[in-house]
Symmetry: C2
């Protein structure tokens, strides 16, 4: 669910020479300047971006850097609970903070299709502004390209980001140990099923909404407990199953999870059953998986549950020495089965 | 002209399950892992990237940061003198070093069209490796998305980058003063006309080649002179005319250039005449414009000329108090005319 309230008065729809994107909006000339001045700067403007150089100059950071990139190609670009713009901001904020870093700066690269309504672009940009404010990050540099009609699908957005990692903190899959507990911050598969139900034209009593959200606030609360977090990742494409498999593969350890502890919303479970999709493999955009030292897991869980984005958090698995490199799930009857990496593509263009 | 020699033995074409890109190559599962393991890692691998986290962790930098982003959508993806991959590496290296920064780290985000031959992707990746080595930068984090056939045109690449700015150095259009000299590092319009002649099916005795190149080596040599460089920019989209107009507009000063000092290759001039395009507005991908203190301009010019990428460098204009906000060009007969910002799109998808 989007946590964002948008003040449309601070960024009203501008009056432009054209109502739709023209090739010349990406050519570096007068129309490019108009797009930047009327659409991007009123929303994104800040002391650094306002300098309008080809690069942002940033003060020397107070620690090691986390640097990440993500392109977003989700279709449709507007979906229940969000749109491609806030997804792009939240997604990169989350990739940064999974290292324990405080996200600070984002870049935004737009690839726009000729003919895209300016009104749609503007709505997306306004929600990016709101998402960046919510997450406490600044958009400091950007780029816009326009391709001829038919050469992309409405718009694609790349966000890259920089954050600062506090001294002495190391969160990395290399720190995972047997006995570690595995935490999950809330219900799974919400984002993927929100997009899929719209695409497939399914309707439920209440619309399934994307969980797109910036997780850095909750991560800060988890770090403040002083509990040992060994690894952390947001299970986006490929879902929880894929992240757990990557950890098992990297560490040559086993992971065992409990099916009855996995939080899945009833409507999401229903949609998954109708479409024949396992929620373990479905993308999340506002959830995290953490691997914690066993003695600290409970206090980290408590910190998560006290945060609005972690109210449904659970400890649902552990790292084991059995079946190295494999993930298994125990069902309520005590039967254990292997949860493999997905081979094919269940859900194209989910993010 | 590409400065890159590629050692194809160090990155042979891998044997893959599929010869073309499948949707599942972007889904985060087994095929994604195969693409990363067999195509990206053998070329891009380094100590930081090898950790395979969702973010790169970088040592605390020794100064302020330059941070930039650029998406590349050039069509065709292979053109005389280069391809979209080395263009993406060089373009972001250049954006960073125009601030005087030393480029250090790049991110790479691929958007691939289903059906793209792996062989083409591999050639592009190999040339990115070579371009990164040539420029002395490391690719430390990346992302790959696949969209269904028809939803993008072969591939788009976003590169973002981070560099470090030496203590005390400030290169910014705010430092431009009346009397400053304007330097250009070589012939103009090569990249744009290389792409256009292929697209239009024009042929000349010798193919016009893109000038794609990383300029950080030449910039380092310019800075070593100790001469005052006030502003610097690489005139890509919109060409030399657009960059000069941006400077004139930002500074509220005038810029006057001399037509007979502008270096243009004969074949490029010929192609421009056939297509009715003014070379002043055509993209360059391995050239820079610099604004220098008048007393230092000659020694900076000398440093440029001693570098292979600056052998045709010239001083071809100056900053004036006349006609604030405007760029003018003096022809060989002494007639002065205004060089305006371009309004429309002469050359779509040039970079």
């Amino acid at each position: 669910m989007s946590q964002i309230t948008i003040d449309s008065f601070s960024c009203p729809l501008p009056i432009m020479d054209y109502d739709t994107i023209q090739l010349a909006h990406g050519a570096g000339g007068k129309l490019s300047a108009e797009l930047i001045d009327k659409v991007f700067m009123p929303c994104f403007g800040n002391q650094i971006l306002d300098k309008m150089e080809d690069q942002a100059v940033l003060e020397r950071p107070e620690g090691r850097l986390a640097f990440t990139t993500d392109s977003f190609v989700v279709s449709p670009v507007f979906f229940p609970g969000g749109n491609i713009g806030e997804l792009a901001v939240n997604g990169t904020v989350n990739d940064i903070c999974m290292s324990g870093a405080t996200p600070l700066y984002l870049s935004v690269g737009f690839i726009l299709e000729e003919g895209l309504p300016i009104e749609e672009l503007h709505r997306i940009v306004v929600s990016m502004k709101a998402a960046a404010e919510q997450a406490g990050v600044r958009i400091v540099t950007g780029d816009t390209k326009v391709v001829n009609k038919g050469s992309c699908d409405k718009l694609f957005i790349n966000t890259s980001g920089v954050g600062v990692i506090p001294e002495g903190l190391e969160i990395s899959s290399r720190r995972i140990r047997p006995g570690d507990k595995i935490l999950l911050s809330g219900t799974i598969a919400d984002h993927g099923m929100a997009v899929m139900t719209v695409r497939e034209g399914l309707s439920f009593q209440s619309a399934i909404e994307s969980d797109t959200a910036a997780l850095n606030g909750m991560v800060a609360a988890m770090l403040e407990t002083g509990g040992q977090i060994h690894a952390m990742r947001d299970p986006t494409r490929g879902g929880v199953a894929t992240t757990l498999n990557e950890w098992a593969k990297t560490t040559h350890l086993g992971i065992r999870i409990q099916q009855n502890r996995l939080p899945v919303r009833d409507d999401v479970r229903g949609a998954c059953e109708i479409l024949g999709i396992d929620p373990l493999y479905v993308a999340n955009e506002g959830k995290l998986l953490a691997v914690a030292a066993p003695e600290d897991a409970e206090k980290i869980l408590l910190a998560m549950r006290q945060h609005p984005l972690g109210k449904d958090a659970v400890i649902f698995g552990e790292v084991v020495e059995d079946h190295p490199g494999k993930v298994t799930m125990m069902n309520p009857l005590g039967v254990e089965r292997i949860i493999d990496m997905p081979v094919g593509e269940q859900l194209p263009r989910i993010c």
